[in-house]
Structures are given as C-alpha cells and as structure tokens.
C-alpha cells in the first residue's frame, strides 16, 4: 500500500479526537481573527450554531471522499471490456497432455509464445468440435476468416519491461501459478479491465485498489518482482541499488 506516513498520522489524529480537531480549527481561525473584526462575529455564530455542524461536515467530507476514493474511483479508473471469445481454460486443460505448455509454449529459441495464435488453435479447431456457442463463433468468425483473435492480455507489461519466461520457468523452475494464479481452473474469462490513465490491465496493480495482496499472483508490479528476487537471492549486481541490475528486467 502506498500511503505515506504523514497522511496516516493526520487522519488518525483528526478522526480520533473531535474536540482536538475543532480546537485546531479554532486556533487557525483565531490567528486570522486578530486582524479582521468581521470574522470575530462569524466565529461567534459558528460557535452558536454549534460545533456539531462542523463535525458533521467534517465527517461528511471524510465519508464522501472515502466513498469516492474506495468505491467510485476504482469504477471510474477502469473501463471494462469483454474478451472477444469466452474461453474455458478448465475444459481445455482436461483435453491436453502437456498442461499449460500445450498452448502457452516455449519456442526453440527460448522465447515464449504467450497467448496462442490462430495457427495453434487450428490444430484442433479446424472445424467445430463441441457444442459450445463460443467455439462455434470462434470457428466462424476467426478460423474461417483466418483472423487472429484480439485477446486482451491480463498480464501485459509496459514496453520498458523485459520479462524472460525461460529464466523463471526453465531456469528457476517456477510454476505458472506463482504469477498467473489459478487461471487454469477458470471456466470463463473475466472481463478485461483497462486502466483509463495508463492503458494497462487492472491485473498489473491487482484487483484490490489498495494494492494489498495476499497471494503472489494478485499483482504484477515491479515491487512484486523485486520482492521475489530478494527472497530468491538473485545476484545483487547493481552498483546503484545493491539489488539486481536494472537491465535484468528493463529494456
């Protein structure tokens, strides 16, 4: 979570003790009042009409902004898009021999193919195999027209990031779940949520807007990479950071 110390401190003080808060406001007003008599008058009125309203407006402000920040903001920040085809990972995993790597495979040169292209899908789906309407649509709209499916990739990283699947899977022997979770168990694809500011998937920051995660696959930020690298004691070769060098993950 990226909240600064100051913010936490201010917040707890003010909400913890209302009286103190009012006093603080009064003090501020007081300094100003010395120069202008009109404010003196208003101060009186405010006092009369009650500190209650001030507390109320404070709480109102607090609550509204909390609602905006925690509930409305995330809804505004992300736009939702449905995947072009609803894909059933679970069903496919049952059919294939080589688990995830059956479709998400390494090429001979060590590069990672990522999301399968039509060429791989056609191996099985030249024609409609099952009775799923999604499959039928896939065959008719993409296979028949020889058009690539414009999949929306949940884990797409910015262009400045270099990520080697070979190093992690072949080199470090990590499994897919560590970063990608249990997507293989899913029977449908969740909507793709795109950050309106950055254009990247919500899954990079994580579903939880606070940034707090409980599992390694819930977010894919640089900090997540760094944390894991530190735990795995990856060579601290950077002169600048005393961690692993920038070029390890950046291009």
């Amino acid at each position: 979570m990226t909240t600064s110390d100051d913010a936490t401190k201010n917040g707890s003080e003010e909400s913890a003790d209302q009286a103190e808060a009012i006093e603080a406001v009064e003090n501020v007003e007081g300094t100003a009042a010395e120069t202008t008599p009109e404010t003196e008058e208003k101060k009186e009125t405010a006092k009369c009409t009650g500190g209650g309203l001030i507390i109320f407006t404070f709480i109102a402000g607090l609550v509204i902004s909390l609602i905006v920040g925690w509930i409305i903001f995330p809804k505004l920040l992300y736009s939702k898009k449905d995947q072009p085809i609803n894909f059933n990972h679970k069903l496919h995993l049952e059919e294939v021999d080589n688990s995830c790597e059956s479709c998400h495979f390494f090429r001979e040169d060590g590069t990672y193919a990522g999301v399968p292209t039509l060429a791989q899908c056609i191996d099985c789906h030249e024609e409609v195999e099952g009775d799923s309407p999604d499959e039928e649509r896939f065959v008719n709209e993409y296979v028949a027209k020889n058009k690539e499916v414009p999949w929306l990739i949940y884990s797409r990283q910015p262009d400045c990031v270099f990520f080697s699947h070979a190093a992690h899977v072949k080199g470090a022997g990590m499994d897919c779940q560590t970063c990608h979770g249990e997507i293989g168990e899913s029977e449908s694809l969740k909507p793709y949520e795109e950050n309106r500011v950055t254009g990247y998937s919500r899954d990079i920051w994580g579903k939880n807007i606070s940034g707090i995660t409980t599992h390694t696959w819930e977010s894919m930020k640089m900090d997540d990479c760094a944390k894991c690298h530190a735990e795995a004691k990856v060579e601290a070769s950077s002169v600048q950071t005393k961690k692993d060098a920038c070029f390890v993950c950046h291009k």
């Binding site: 979570m1 990226t2 909240t3 600064s4 913010a7 936490t8 201010n10 917040g11 003010e14 909400s15 406001v25 007003e29 208003k42 101060k43 009125t45 405010a46 009409t49 309203l53 001030i54 507390i55 407006t57 404070f58 709480i59 109102a60 402000g61 607090l62 609550v63 509204i64 902004s65 909390l66 905006v68 920040g69 925690w70 903001f73 995330p74 920040l77 090429r107 040169d109 590069t111 193919a113 990522g114 910015p158 262009d159 400045c160 950050n195 500011v197 950055t198 254009g199 990247y200 920051w205 807007i209 606070s210 940034g211």
Partner: protein, 736 residues
C-alpha cells in the same frame, strides 16, 4: 441550516483526510507516472515469433547474402548471411538500411499515370489493367506507323532474367535499342577482348595478392563487390600485403593503404607506363611471358619493310621517370621504387577504375594498367587477375519476330537513349540522376513522348516519367541477381520474398509478359511463360538444384585455369599492340598521348580540376541514400542543405576561401554554390565533391540536399568504346 465558511473548511479538511486515506491519490500518482513514461504516441513494437529468411541484396551489384530477421510478418532487421561466399556475415550500411526502402515513404504504391506537367508530381493512381492497356495502345500505334525501332529501354547491368526479358520484348517488338548502364567492368571486358581475345570480365584474386597497386580504385570505398573488398582488405592486413594507392585525394582507401602516391588526376595511365618503363629497364619483367605469350611487345618490320614500334620501344623511348614525373606529378624516384617493389613482389596485381568504378574509364588507361599485370605475369595467376566468363544461364529460344519486328530491329541502333526515341522503358536504372551532365540529359530525355518507369521508388527518373509500373522490391518477390564485379567466382543468387508485397506492385517480369500478351502476335508468342515465376524457375533449372536449395550458385568454373595462356586473339598471344595502336605522337619533349580523351573547357578559364569522390556512406547509383545512411554522412560532406567541396589550403589561399565559407564552383556545363572544406588530404588545384547528393526526388531525408556532382561534369566519349568516360571536369572556384 446555513453552510458557513467554517463548515466548508471542515468539509474540505474531512474530504482531504478521507482522500488521503483512500487509494485515490497514490494510485493516480502511480498511474500518471506510468502514463508520462509511456506516452501513447511512442510506438510499441509488437512482439512475436522470430524467424530469419535468407535472400540476396540487390541494392548494388555486389551480390551479398542477407538474412532478414522477422517478427511475425514484419521484417525488422537485415543482417549479412554467415558463410556466404561473397560477404560471410558482413554487410554494408546500405544493405542494412534496406527496410527503410521497403517500408519507406518513397515507395510507389500502385501504378501511376502522370496528370500534371512532366516532373510536376501530379499523379493519378490507375489499375494495372488500365496502365497496361494505355501503354499497349501507344506501342501498337508506333508499331503500326513503322516506328518500332524508336522504342527503347535502359537497365542497370543488363544481367539477369528481367533485363533480358525486356531486351527480348524489344527484339520481338522490333527494336534493337536496349541499353545498359556501363561501368568499369564493361571497359575491362572490352580491354580483354582486345588484349586477350576473350569475352570475359575481370576476376581479381585479391585475397592471395601480396602487393596491390591501385590506380585510384576505391577498393574499400565501394569498388567491385564492396563487402568482399573490405574483407579482402582485412586479409591484406592479416597477411602483410602491401597496398599502394595512387590518387589525388586521401580517400578511405588511400588512408588505409600502406603508401599513398599523389597524382595529377587523369594521368594514371601514364604512370602505369612509367612503371612499365622501369620494370623493363631493370629487366624485372617476366621474360617467359613477354617472349612466349605476348604479341607486339617488340617492334617488327612488316612485309613492306616498315618498322612498327612495339610496346617496349614505345615505353623505353618515351616513358622515362623524368618525363612521367612531368606529366603525372609523381616523383621519378617514387616511380622507380614503386616499379621495383611491384615487379619483385611475389604476387602483385594492378587494378584501376576510379572510385567505385561506376563510371567507365578510358580503355587505354585500363590497358596500360593491365599491361603491368602482363609484364609481371600476374594474368591467370594466384593473387593476380583472371579472365572470368560471366554466368550464361539464360538459354531461351530466340524471340519470334514478324516482318515489322524484323524491319525495326534491322534499323541502325541509336547511340544511346536519345531524343530520337518515341518511348523509353526504364528498369533498374535512374538516368535522370546518374548520367553525367544532368541538365543536358534531362533536356534530351524530356523530348521522349512516353517514358515508362518500373521503379519501386519515386526516384528522379520515375518522377519524370509518364507511367510508373512499380516493381516489387527485392524483399517482396523472386528475382535472380548476378554478381560478377571483380569476383573470381561469380555468384548467381535467387532473391525470394521476405515479406508479402506491401503495396499494389507487380514483378516487372510479370508486367513485361502482360505487355507482350496485350500486344498479341509474335510479341506474345515470344513469351510462352504463364508468369514470371515460371520463367525464372525454368531458366534457373538449367543451373542444377544448388541455387534453389541454397539460394545461390557459385560459378566455380568461370575463371580461367591458373597458368592458362590460351589467348583468343588472332596471334594467339597477349596483345600489347592494343596499347600501342592509335597513340598520338609525343609533343616536343613530352610523352605521347595514349588517347585523344580531353576534358571539356580550357585550362585558362577553368584552372582547377573537379573530381567526384565516392563513399560507401553515400549511395550514388540507382538507389539513393535511405534515412539511416543520410544520417551517417559526415558533416564536412553535407551540412544542412549544402554540399562541400574539399580543397587544399594552398588552393583556398589562392582563391581567398575560408573554411566553411560559401563558394561558387563553375564548370563548362554547370554552376553551383557550395561550402568550402579545407583539408591537407587533397592535392593543390584539385577540388573534390562527394557523389550521391543533389537528389530532387526520393523522400524529404534525401531530396534537396547538396549538389549532384554529375550535373557539373560534361560527357567525354571514348571513341574506342563509345562510353562516356568523363572522370571529372575543369572548374573554377570563386568566393560567393
């Protein structure tokens, strides 16, 4: 309930507190930093599967193998093919830049028909059918009017199936006016005809030479097959081969040579004979060769009792070091030393052809230089020069000709692409830019009623044409590429499509077939192939499976065998007479003139000599510099839009010119404002100007920058070959 200022402030403070406690500011901060680092307008190249497609580069006649790296269907990088016989992994800058031509803004995207004035740049996109039927209509009319012979074509080297199809098309149509763009290789071929009696091109066994004497050849500046020559240069460095460069200017070749001999431009042939003089005087020549295998070395008395002097007598009487020093400016002592070194070297070779050798040279000069090879018996010897038979794999039956064709073809051939033509096809050539005396060329060509360009790019000639029928680039279609250029073993390569055609271009071979078919009759019958690919396949089949399998075929048997002394001349010997014939008698006290070739203009009005300088950083032939190549042009060659001239400090003082000041250079045929670069790397009274600048077409990265040095040079015809052999121009420089 009244909301006063305090409540408002309180609300604000509450809101601030709440906001701080919510993820909003922190998340937005993170997001906006990502946004600002990854501007949406910065391109993100798509990743994918990496593959390599092997093909051949045809941006110059070098014949280098290329391996094009692809990401999915995009070509992203051109590299040299490892273990290729020509370039073994190396590649020049132009070769690397090929993708900028493929994907660049200079591409002609569909057939075009001119709608504005010629050269105005107003075009109408037309379909292939319309373009071909319109051109056919014109061709039919000319044929019907008995003017078949007024249809001509100009190509590059003329080698390969496409130029030969064009030639065949003209023959079947009824015209002999098929022209190629000659280079130094063609002059060598002419010289070989006279001296060896062989129809051959030169093959230099440079890699084995221990002494290389170059008369102005830019051996590492793009002469011959450029990458092969640079590799040979590295071999020389490894083996300790001595390279002597004779040149008025410190070119890259001169800079990398072991000795740079400065010479008055245009007197290279005289120096060669001066060296021959010393070799003969010191008896350092191969006695065996001149005694057994040479004709005309010694003079003879013919039947009527008249003595004709031989090569030896001519050389010994006139080409003493002192006389040659007077003519060439090379110190007599240097001539002697050089001759001794050359003649005593284990495997010496002499070579000529100024700069990249794109321009033909005086054949007498070529023969004089080649005589040195004969004197030291370096002909058909390791490290020397071999006669090489150019690949001859196109074995089509003769074109069918009806009576119109017969009559037209029998008419006298034009001397070149002249205004007598009624139609001109341009393929693999850019005469509007590459021919000397550009202004005059333009004037002549503009008279031709119909010009059809097959160029893939909007070059100068395409811009001046009436129709453009864009060819696929070498990365989009099949074609055969023939590399001979000084190679011992010529290479025929098969270019294959690296990417799908990006625009509505068509292979010129297919277009010629389409034109022939729509002309019907015997013209159509002369092209029995379904399409170009079939024609190409059938043609290449005669070479065996190697070319289709490897993508190239090396003609290992093209060069004469080592030690071969079979000359095809009437005497059966090497003809020194070819040099001694037609020399102009010596002026008083001087040395004879080998040939009558003189640059235009008088020495008094034009006291300086302008010489073009070639560089591998500036493509100066049919293909112009792509943006990457423009970027690496040095800033003393081009600054902003100005060309530089390079002059010696003495010359600068004489004409009161300062470094980077403006000057006007005037020659008998042109005038241009240039910037001055003063350098210790050039002779007095010589002005050097880079070739490859002054384009008017292509893209904004190239067009309008600098001066085309060819526009300042007047043509000079060699009466023996008919080639334009202008190597420079008389010029004057004045302060601007």
């Amino acid at each position: 309930m009244k909301i006063d200022r305090r409540c408002f402030l309180s609300l604000g403070i509450g809101a601030a507190a709440g906001t701080a406690l919510s993820p909003l500011p922190w998340k937005l901060m993170d997001d906006s930093s990502i946004w600002s680092q990854m501007w949406p307008w910065t391109p993100v190249p798509e990743d994918g599967e990496y593959t390599y497609v092997d093909s051949v580069c045809s941006l110059c006649p070098g014949g280098c193998g290329i391996s094009v790296r692809k990401v999915n269907d995009r070509a992203v990088k051109i590299e040299g093919t490892k273990d290729h016989p020509v370039n073994d992994g190396g590649i020049c800058g132009l070769g690397v830049s090929g993708l900028q031509l493929l994907y660049g803004p200079t591409r002609v995207k569909s057939p075009m028909k001119r709608i504005g004035e010629r050269g105005e740049g107003r075009w109408e996109k037309v379909s292939w059918e319309i373009a071909i039927s319109a051109i056919t209509r014109e061709l039919k009319e000319l044929r019907a009017a008995g003017k078949a012979n007024t249809v001509g074509a100009i190509t590059g080297s003329g080698r390969g199936t496409v130029p030969q199809m064009l030639k065949r098309f003209l023959t079947a149509y009824g015209s002999s006016n098929f022209f190629t763009t000659p280079t130094i290789q063609d002059v060598y071929a002419e010289a070989f005809k006279l001296m060896h009696g062989k129809d051959a091109v030169p093959g230099f066994d440079f890699e084995k030479s221990t002494f290389v004497l170059s008369f102005g050849s830019g051996l590492i500046d793009g002469w011959g097959s450029p990458v092969r020559m640079i590799r040979a240069n590295s071999t020389w460095k490894d083996n300790g081969t001595t390279v002597v460069q004779v040149e008025p200017r410190l070119s890259n070749t001169a800079a990398k040579s072991d000795k740079w001999i400065t010479i008055k431009p245009g007197t290279e042939g005289d120096l060669a004979l001066g060296i021959a003089h010393v070799i003969i005087r010191e008896s350092l020549n191969s006695k065996k060769f001149v005694d057994n295998h040479a004709n005309g070395y010694l003079g003879a008395i013919d039947a009527s009792g008249v003595f004709t002097q031989g090569f030896k007598e001519l050389i010994m009487s006139s080409y003493g070091p002192d006389a040659v020093e007077m003519r060439t400016g090379v110190a007599g002592s240097d001539i002697v030393a050089l001759a001794k070194e050359f003649a005593t070297a284990r495997r010496a070779v002499a070579v000529c052809g100024r700069g990249q050798g794109d321009n033909p040279a005086d054949i007498k000069e070529v023969m004089a230089v080649h005589a040195l090879n004969a004197l030291v018996d370096s002909i058909n010897q390791p490290g020397g020069v071999y006669t090489v038979k150019a690949p001859d794999y196109i074995k089509w039956a003769d074109a069918e000709m009806d009576s119109v064709a017969g009559e037209g073809f029998a008419q006298e051939r034009f001397s070149g692409i002249t205004d007598g033509l009624n139609a001109l096809f341009i393929s693999g050539a850019n005469p509007y830019y590459t021919m000397t005396d550009t202004t005059a060329v333009k004037k002549v060509l503009d008279q031709i009623p119909m010009i059809v360009s097959f160029s893939s790019f909007m070059d100068e000639s395409a811009a001046q044409s009436d129709y453009i029928l864009p060819d696929h680039t070498y990365l989009e279609g099949y074609r055969d590429v023939v590399a001979v250029n000084g190679l011992m073993r010529p290479v025929v390569s098969l270019a294959q499509p690296v990417v799908k055609p990006q625009f509505k271009s068509q292979s010129t071979g297919d277009v010629i077939i389409a034109l022939a078919n729509s002309l019907e009759g015997t013209v159509a019958k002369s092209f029995p192939w379904l399409n170009y690919q079939q024609c190409l396949k059938e043609t290449l089949d005669s070479m065996g499976p190697e070319i289709q399998k490897n993508g190239f075929w090396v003609d290992k048997k093209a060069a004469a065998e080592t030690g071969d002394k079979n000359f095809g001349t009437a005497s059966g010997k090497f003809e020194f007479t070819a040099i001694t014939d037609n020399t102009t008698p010596a002026e008083s006290g001087g040395i004879p003139k080998l040939s009558s070739i003189e640059l235009a203009g008088d020495k008094a009005s034009y006291p300086l000599l302008l010489i073009p300088s070639d560089s591998l950083r500036l493509a100066n032939d049919t293909i112009g510099n792509p943006p990457f190549m423009v970027k690496i042009v040095e800033d003393m060659i081009l600054k902003g839009k100005s060309s530089f001239v390079e002059i010696n400090p003495d010359t600068a003082r004489k004409y009161d010119l300062k470094e980077c000041s403006e000057a006007v250079i005037t020659t008998p045929v042109g005038k241009a404002t240039v910037m001055v670069h003063i350098s210790e790397s050039i002779m007095k009274d010589v002005v050097a100007m880079a070739t490859g600048l002054g384009h008017t077409a292509h893209d904004k990265y190239l067009a309008g920058k600098g001066i085309n040095v060819k526009s300042l040079i007047a043509t000079v015809q060699d009466p023996l070959t008919g080639y334009d052999v202008a190597w420079g121009a008389r010029a004057k420089l004045t302060k601007a």
